[in-house]
Amino acid sequence: MKGVSLAIEKRLHADRRTFDLAVRFESAAQVTVLFGPSGAGKTLTLHAIAGLLRPDRGEIRIDDRVVFSSAQRIDIAARQRGIGFVFQDYALFPHLTVAQNVAFGLQRGWFNAGTRAVRCEQLAPFDLQPLAHAYPADLSGGQRQRVALARALAGQPRLLLLDEPFASLDAPLRTRMRSELLALRHRHDVPMIVITHDPDDVAALGGQVINLDNGRVVG
């Protein structure tokens, strides 16, 4: 079966409060939207899929490949899951240029590519060539998001995860980036899971919607 299937449990402690995450869903859709209020466990779920959060119990499959299973003692490292991740605040490398950021995952050596030496074909499709030598601090919100997308897609992942990709953009830009994201999905033919708490995003992106509330799938 193509797609993602997961059934995980995780108990987290913070400031003497406990939060129980118990999420179970399957989706073979090209676009899956994780929808719910903040604190619902959307980001935790996405991190578990990417291998950045280790569940206490359960199983996660991506395209029939088991990437986590407590029963079978399988826990594939994040770096080997082949997942592209666009973080909420984009998490660009502040010490690297746009070109170095995008090419980061293509170079597996001990050092980052030199600022001038780095060659990257991934810049053009994202209109990033004029900004190749700029640093993240110089970019606008929309430009940062494009860099984050180009970086996540450079290694040709088999799944793209996006954590609130439009939250920090203003309304007109948000509309534009939504359609850019959908165009991108067609071009790269990569399934994606998108987190949002904005009903407009749900309407615009379509696909399968998973409602999360208080650590559980509802509705």
Partner: protein
């Protein structure tokens, strides 16, 4: 500058720089191992490793003698297998200074690593990097300013090291007598002129190092902010 003042100056610089390098390697590695999360175990470990800063240098010197001396655990082993004795050598002075300076770099490094955005490190993981390469390509470049500041404090501490060095390496002119030891020696011998010269050299060296450090920290600032 009188010739007999250059020897202790060069020795001081050699010992202090090597001690700082040694302390930095261990401070960075252990600072990374202690990690971002705070827990009773980690904080206790950090407190114990900070002891060299808090204890009187004589206590430090005593324990270093116990460890490195001919009948010490490490010292006996070195003597037996390699014929090496660190007591009364400048290498022994390096170790004494490195231990004294180590807590400063450890604390600075741990704080600097903790200040790096964990999400940026996660991004490197999803892009296929293992933990060591991630440390070299992301964490260290983002934390180097804090690490360097700690290394400068460590250098200052190593330059001024007196008590532990005296106990471990002695005060042998031309061999283990660093500036701070030579000044004490000159004062005790009633040689005011020599003491004055040495004090001036010490002062000038320290000011030059401070200015160089400030330049280094300013030049390294990423132009576009980070």
């Amino acid at each position: 500058m009188p010739a007999d003042a250059i020897t202790p100056l060069l020795l001081t610089l050699k010992v202090a720089l090597l001690a700082t390098a040694l302390a930095t390697v261990f401070g960075v590695a252990i600072g990374k191992l202690l990690g971002r999360k705070r827990s009773l175990l980690r904080d206790t470990a950090e407190s114990l490793l900070t002891l060299p800063l808090v204890l009187p240098p004589t206590v430090l010197g005593y324990y270093l003698l116990v460890l490195l001396g001919r009948r010490g655990t490490l010292g006996g082993w070195l003597q037996e297998n390699f014929g090496i004795s660190l007591i009364f050598t400048w290498q022994g002075a390096v170790i004494a200074s490195a231990v004294a300076a180590f807590p400063l770099i450890l604390r600075a490094a741990r704080a600097a690593f903790a200040a790096v955005d964990p999400q940026v490190e996660n991004a490197a993981r999803t892009l296929g990097l293992g933990e060591l390469k991630l440390f070299v390509r992301v964490t260290l470049p983002l934390a180097w300013r804090g690490v360097l500041a700690g290394a400068l404090l460590a250098l200052a501490r190593a330059m001024g090291e007196f008590g532990a060095t005296l106990m471990v390496a002695g005060s042998l002119p031309g061999r283990t007598q660093t500036l701070s030891l030579a000044i004490y020696d000159a004062v005790m011998a009633g040689d005011d002129a020599r003491a004055q010269t040495l004090v001036l050299i010490c002062l000038i060296t320290s000011v030059v190092l401070l200015i160089a450090a400030a330049q280094l920290l300013r030049r390294g600032r990423p132009e576009r902010g980070a």
